[in-house]
């Protein structure tokens, strides 16, 4: 059975690092894994999506509409944008943060109200204000790892394995803070 995970957010929020940690833990566990990322222009503050698939055998590297098991969203509006990619019993893990897209800043569109409530109607949702948690930990950049920690509860890997892969993936100076951030999210679940 293939497991389909999506990581969505705003260009610059660190979706690539998160997917690399995820890819690392899956590879270490012996499953076949494929990831698909967005580079280039879309990264400049646009909506970005990374697909991660794993199982006994994986063919395509993308997750298609209606097939995601877990949707990890680093921003509320992006959770809503990609919610239709979820399976019926799919789970959303969302960072409860608002980043206005340029269309909202210029007044061409309005940022939707009550996103989480809307999503709750059809999906299981786990949310965290990761920005605030990260600041409490003393490094606002690690909010994405907090979200990953929360999402880790919906995947089949042990806590120690996660910590090991984080150690192997992030720059050596930031291992400790990233592990702390992961645990902060993991223990919320």
């Amino acid at each position: 059975m293939t497991k389909n995970i999506m990581i969505v957010g705003v260009g610059g929020q660190g979706t690539l690092l998160t997917s690399r940690i995820l890819g690392g833990i899956i590879n270490a566990s012996g499953y076949q894994v494929k990831l698909s990322e967005v580079h280039g222009m879309a990264q400049r503050g646009g909506s970005v999506v990374t697909f991660v698939r794993y199982g006994e055998e994986v063919a395509e590297p993308i997750v298609e509409e209606g097939q995601a098991d877990v949707l990890i969203a680093f921003e509320r509006l992006e959770a809503l944008r990609y919610a239709h990619f979820l399976k019926k019993d799919g789970v959303i893990v969302v960072n409860d943060q608002r980043i206005d897209p340029i269309t909202v800043v210029t007044g061409a569109a309005e940022y939707p109200e009550g996103i989480l409530e809307k999503l709750k109607k059809d999906h299981k949702i786990y949310s965290v204000n990761a920005q605030q948690k990260a600041e409490e930990l003393g490094n606002s950049k690690v909010f994405n790892i907090i979200v990953l920690g929360l999402a880790a509860k919906h995947m089949d890997f042990a806590k120690e394995e996660w910590l090991k892969v984080i150690e192997e993936t992030v720059p050596s100076k930031t291992i400790e803070i990233n592990q702390k951030a992961f645990l902060a999210g993991y223990e919320l679940a």
Partner: protein, 599 residues
């Protein structure tokens, strides 16, 4: 920079315990670089372009055993690789699909000369236009140039095919194209690493009949090219990379590249003829496959390159009658069009679009805000600054290809006269200027154009992720070199009026623009300020609002800086984690309601 992942695992393969090979999760582009390294490549030249850029960025790690460079453009890169090949070593060049157009001049003729050491051009197509100006299919160019094409379908094949490409290049005396697509280049999957092969450089022998393409010699080589392609087409039916997978025979797919994965995903029971060599096609193998399946479907992204050839052989098949020429393919596409399955998909929520935008502290925003204020139209070019075409800036009117801003402005002036472009400028980035803008500017000078060109110098190739070029003073291999001076370069073209302005000094820029646009002469304004994302930059300040002074006029919001948000009461907040303290908003405020503070 997007490189290989740091995670890896070791896998025992040999019973003797000596052969231990390593498996890594690798980006398609990293695997292509690894394949080149394992093939014993001695030289690689490239110009950055999504989705090909990471190939060169990954090659640098092997610089002890190969030389790699950023060339000013793809034509130069291809020629550099050709020179290395003639000198007897394996060589390659890398580019995005539209870069192949720039390199097509040498490509069409090196097809005639053939190679010395193996020669591979890596072309990365962009179905779905993630970061490109068109959706062209490199296979069409390859057919026209009579150059064989390999197409891998995952990272492991990307590495393996790269090695094979060099072998085929030498065996058939031909340049090879390795074709990737965005989805392959930017996907990661496991790759087993091997040791690089050691290849002796060939001894040079003068051979004008092969390498001097003047009419008398080229006629002979054209005959060789026909023979070569026919021979390869014949041999292709026995190549293991062209593989018939027989399962249920009611449907048989002919497919290649990433499209193969979609067929495997949606129709795991179907028979597949998976092609690794997509030009020339293995006719015998295709005819045999077609005769053994009830229904033949050609599943290829973009152009019906295989389908049209297969149909021309009198074989009945389906293809573009079921699937589009546009965008990326998917498994769901097959489920709907072939399997007629009901694909249950919730309706997508209606949400505001989030298009890419210029970053906080981007110098382009500052320049565009001045152009907008003065009501100036801009002939644009390829780079992050193409985003100046959309709201809220709306100043760029045209974008065609690399370097075209300057030449199109010149065309307007020559067709309609100086006054027609009195409120026009050309805008081009420093890297794009070095790519092909130089030629266009030379033409304006030579043909005595009057007009204003803005070179937006942010000291890097920004959109592709910060690659160096001839005017930055650093090479791909990290060597510090004298930077080409853009001012002196313009002066050398007999352009008298060359002005440099700090990109963030909007009053100075406005003054300069008015002066230069009034002048009946050719002028160049170089706006200078580094890309806000450049490594090593320190931003000591941050902009803050003083709410009591704010008149809620919204002037600071006009250029669309993402660090600024309008509050419910009409005042403005600035996100301190995003703000780089460029000070543009301060300059736009008439009420001193914004100020800079130390971080």
């Amino acid at each position: 920079m997007s490189g290989e992942t740091a995670t890896e695992c070791r896998m025992e393969t040999g019973k003797d315990g000596i052969n231990v090979s390593e498996t890594k999760i690798m980006l398609g582009n990293a695997a292509i670089a690894r394949g080149a390294f394992e093939a014993g490549v001695k030289l690689s030249a490239a110009y950055p372009g999504t989705p090909s850029t990471e190939i060169s960025e990954n090659l640098v790690q092997y610089k002890e055993s190969l030389y790699c460079e950023w060339s000013p453009n793809e034509k130069v890169a291809a020629e550099v690789a050709i020179g290395a090949s003639i000198s007897g070593v394996r060589a390659m060049c890398c580019m995005k699909h539209v870069g192949v157009n720039v390199a097509s001049d040498p490509l069409y003729t090196v097809s005639y000369t053939g190679v010395g050491g193996g020669l591979v051009l890596v072309a990365a197509d962009d179905p779905g236009l993630y970061s490109s100006q068109n959706e062209q299919d490199t296979r069409c160019v390859a057919r026209a140039a009579q150059v064989p094409v390999l197409e891998p379908s995952d990272s492991q094949e990307a590495k393996d095919f790269m090695k094979l490409a060099f072998e085929l290049s030498e065996k058939y005396d031909t340049p090879m194209i390795l074709r990737s697509t965005t989805r392959l280049s930017h996907s990661q999957s496991p790759v087993t690493l091997e040791e690089p092969v050691v290849i002796e450089a060939k001894t040079y022998e003068r051979n004008p009949a092969k390498f001097v393409m003047m009419p008398g010699m080229a006629k002979g080589r054209h005959i060789f090219v026909e023979k070569r392609m026919n021979q390869m087409a014949e041999d292709a039916s026995a190549m293991p990379i062209n593989r018939a997978e027989y399962r249920d025979k009611s449907i048989g797919f002919v497919t290649s590249g990433i499209a193969y994965q979609y067929v495997r995903e949606a129709c795991p029971e179907a028979s597949i003829l998976k092609l690794g060599l997509v030009h020339p096609l293995p006719r015998k193998l295709i005819e045999e496959f077609a005769s053994r399946v009830d229904r033949l479907i050609i599943f290829e992204e973009l152009e019906p390159v295989m389908e049209e050839q297969i149909k021309s052989w009198g074989i009945t098949c389906e293809g573009k009658d079921l699937f589009t020429r546009q965008g990326e393919y998917s498994a769901n596409m097959l489920r709907k069009a072939v399997l007629h399955q009901e694909v249950r998909i919730d309706e997508a929520a209606e949400v505001p679009a989030r298009p890419p935008i210029l970053c906080p502290g981007c110098p382009h925003r500052s320049v565009f805000s001045v152009l907008k204020k003065l009501g100036i139209h801009a002939a644009g070019d390829i780079g992050c600054y193409t985003l100046g075409a959309v709201a809220p800036l709306n100043v760029i009117d045209t974008t065609i290809c690399m370097g075209a801003s300057i030449s199109t402005l010149h065309g307007m002036e020559k067709a309609r006269g100086r006054d027609y472009i009195r409120n026009w400028v050309a805008v081009i980035g420093d890297s794009t200027f070095m790519h092909t803008g130089v030629n266009s500017l030379m033409n304006m000078s030579y043909n005595q154009s009057c007009g204003t060109v803005i070179i937006m110098d942010n000291s890097t190739t920004g959109m592709t992720g910060h690659q160096d070029h001839a005017a930055t003073g650093k090479t791909l291999q990290g060597d510090i070199v004298p930077a080409i001076d853009i001012v002196k370069l313009c002066k050398a073209m007999n352009i008298e009026h060359v002005v440099t302005v700090n990109a963030f000094d909007i009053s100075e820029l406005e003054k300069t623009l008015k002066e230069e646009l009034n002048r009946d002469a050719l002028s160049v304004i170089i706006t200078q300020a580094p890309c806000a994302l450049l490594k090593g930059l320190v931003f000591p300040d941050v902009c803050v609002t003083i709410p009591e002074k704010c008149k809620k006029c919204g002037a600071c919001l006009k250029p669309g800086c993402p660090a600024l948000t309008k509050n419910q009461d009409g005042t403005v907040s600035i996100d301190a984690t995003m703000c780089n303290g460029c000070g543009l908003c301060l300059q736009l405020c008439h009420f001193d309601a914004l100020e800079l503070r130390k971080k």
